[in-house]
């Protein structure tokens, strides 16, 4: 298989789906050059800086038979559109009794590491998980991104794709266009098998967790790394099955801990009598410190988790 970047994989997914289905079109505050070139300005629409309106227009276009893609660029910018997300997109299918379908893909970059300070380094996915009515993907590899985006575009509901800013230039094997690989929404992947502890990791943290697992293998600790890939709905079964085997859970996430995806995953395991009874140690979250993200490199690095902190966390759980 070819190796391509995460950014390229995302672009290919869009291109293939736009070729396949003329109802798919794309909105973003700047045109994406290869899309503008191939599909013209009618289907690659550069919009004014009005994310609220883009987000709402996507709903109206979807309700009128189109399959719009609305690219917020950074999750930060979608907060001006939050009414359209929370009060409209997430609820419209339900409020109207299912009389219409709203196939929409929203895309947004998440995560820090770019020395961009508090506003531009956010990972607030759990705010979106908190409400029902949205499907949410959070892919960690080029292959997952491409396959999940393709599924998301074909889904008949609003789907948000949160894409890790730190991952854009990472490379990985991706099947080519002929394969038309769809990765189903709602299916986690065991990214590494192990027996001593389950690490559920999200997006960029998947790679850090895998690195930590590698380090710990040398210490004789066998780490299972699970990547939910879709965070709404969460694949609780795969996570729980792993914990039934390992009896230990750590969640690694670049987002802050409070009411995070990490809290949800931890609770899934501690509220299920079966997994609870298997727990040999307290659950643990290795997340960002609970502060806005600071600019200066030393500060920013201090705030975010990384492979070392994940490894320390794993050791702590093993020792508890």
């Amino acid at each position: 298989m070819r190796e391509i970047t995460y950014a390229q994989a995302g672009l290919e997914a869009i291109q293939e789906e736009m070729r396949r289905d003329p109802k798919v079109f794309y909105m973003c505050t700047d045109a994406i050059p290869p899309l503008a070139k191939e599909f013209g300005t009618e289907r690659m629409r550069a919009t004014p800086i009005a994310e609220s309106t883009m987000t709402g227009m996507a709903i109206g276009a979807a309700g009128s038979g189109y399959r719009p893609i609305c690219d917020w660029r950074q999750v930060t910018f979608c907060f001006v559109a939050m009414d359209q997300i929370v009060n409209q997109a997430a609820k419209i299918t339900y409020m109207f009794g299912g009389q219409q379908k709203f196939p929409i893909l929203y895309r947004a970059g998440v995560g820090g590491g770019g020395r961009l300070a508090a506003q531009h380094s956010q990972s607030p996915y759990s705010m979106f998980m908190n409400m029902s009515g949205l499907k949410i993907i959070l892919p960690s590899t080029p292959r997952d991104l491409k396959g999940l985006l393709k599924s998301a575009i074909r889904d008949n509901n609003p789907v948000i794709s949160f894409e890790g800013n730190r991952l854009l230039q990472t490379k990985g094997a991706v099947p080519d266009a002929e394969a038309d690989e769809l990765i189903p929404l709602g299916k986690a992947e065991v990214k590494r098998e192990g027996n001593d502890i389950t690490v559920v990791a999200l997006a960029w943290a998947v790679h850090e967790a895998l690195a930590a697992a590698e380090m710990l293998a040398k210490e004789g600790i066998s780490v299972e790394v699970i990547d939910p890939r879709t965070i709404a709905p969460l694949d609780a079964e795969t996570i729980k099955a792993s914990v039934m085997k390992t009896g230990r859970l750590l969640v690694a996430d670049e987002a802050g801990p409070v009411c995070g995806a990490s809290a949800e995953i931890a609770t899934l395991v501690s509220e299920d009598p079966a997994t609870f009874r298997k727990l040999k140690a307290p659950v643990k979250r290795v997340c960002a410190l609970f502060v806005p993200i600071p600019y200066s490199p030393g500060l920013e690095d201090h705030v975010f988790p990384n492979r070392t902190k994940i490894a320390d966390g794993i050791r702590a759980v093993m020792a508890a």
Binding site: E42, M57, I59, G60, A61, G63, G97
Partner: protein, 324 residues
């Protein structure tokens, strides 16, 4: 195109249907058969009917929290509307939406909306779809004077103007946002039409209680939109007869004589149309009474339909979160 007597009688019928529907909805609300909140459109009927009268099938509209009038004017089914208000399975939203969320996508009615200004961008997206379809479809966004203070109408007028989208923005300026007079919170003493200039689109202020003025302005705007010339802003001046919502004990701080003044026959949009038709010999008192009886019968039937429809089963609450 001047409106012929048949069309005018149909319009009158629709206006009267809106009024009677809401009189009943409000009575049934206070009787405990309808829940939550009901916002009545009574007094403003000429706007919905005049504008929708300029549309054709396949055109799309979006409404506000004050949505019954727009639904009825766009041809929604009274039975399913009333069943929704009653919270029943055969309601438009299977009892999930209630008054603030009635929609009929088949009729091109993209929904009432509980959020002030929340629907404007959605219907602007429908206008984009119409443009992409290339079949001459048109969209209409109804919104209030209160909504004119919020960002969406401006974002949308800008994008619709820049992209020449086939859409009409219809501001129903009833001079109040809940208890707050537009004159205290909206620049230019509450006049909204001037906003059009900022986007280089036509802006028209009309007497919203004059069905002829509304219809004429809408026809012109629709023609423009169909011709690919872009959006129009219409400000229709009007007044709501009833309190902001039907909630019991809800005070209404508007001056009493102001309210009464707007109910007078020379300002009531229905009385004005009746007088016009009578003056021209196209309607008699007896005919109007018969029409009203017809209307009342239809509404009575819608209540019977609603009563007969079962409440949803509790577990139905779990359906319709996602489409298949």
């Amino acid at each position: 195109m001047p409106l012929g007597p048949n069309t005018l009688r149909e319009m009158l019928h629709t206006m009267q249907t809106i009024r009677r529907f809401e009189e009943r909805a409000s009575a049934d609300y206070h009787a405990g058969k309808i829940y939550g909140v009901v916002h009545c459109y009574i007094g403003e009927e000429a706007i919905a009917v005049g504008v929708c009268g300029a549309l054709r099938d396949g055109d799309q509209i979006i409404s506000t929290h004050r949505g019954h009038g727009h639904c009825i004017a766009k041809g929604a089914d009274l039975d399913r509307m009333m069943a929704e208000l009653y919270g029943r399975r055969d309601g438009y939203c299977k009892g999930k939406g209630g008054s603030m969320h009635i929609a009929d996508f088949e009729k091109g009615m993209l929904g009432a909306n509980g959020i002030v200004a929340g629907g404007i961008s959605i219907v602007t997206g429908a206008a984009l779809a119409a443009k992409l379809d290339g079949k001459g479809g048109v969209a209409v966004s109804f919104f209030g004077d209160g909504a004119s203070a919020a960002g969406p109408i401006h974002e949308c007028m800008n994008i619709a103007a820049a992209w020449k989208l086939p859409i009409i923005y219809v501001c129903e300026n009833n001079q109040y946002a809940a208890q707050t007079p537009a004159s205290t919170t909206i620049a230019r003493q509450g006049e909204i039409v001037h906003r059009a200039a900022g986007y280089g689109i036509p802006g028209v202020a009309i007497d919203g209680n004059d069905i002829f003025a509304v219809h004429a302005a809408a026809e012109e705007a629709v023609a423009r939109a169909r011709a690919g010339e872009g959006p129009t802003l219409i400000e229709a001046r009007t007044y709501r007869w009833r309190a902001h919502t039907e909630r019991a004990g809800q005070p209404d701080y508007r001056p009493k004589d102001e309210i009464e003044g707007w109910k007078s026959p020379d300002r009531d949009p229905i009385a004005r149309l009746v007088a016009h038709l009578k003056r021209d010999g196209h309607l008699t008192d007896a005919e109007f009474e018969a029409m009203d009886r017809q209307v009342l019968d239809a509404i009575e039937r819608s209540c019977a339909f609603a009563e007969k429809s079962p409440f949803p089963a509790p577990d139905d609450a779990l359906d319709d979160v996602f489409a298949a």
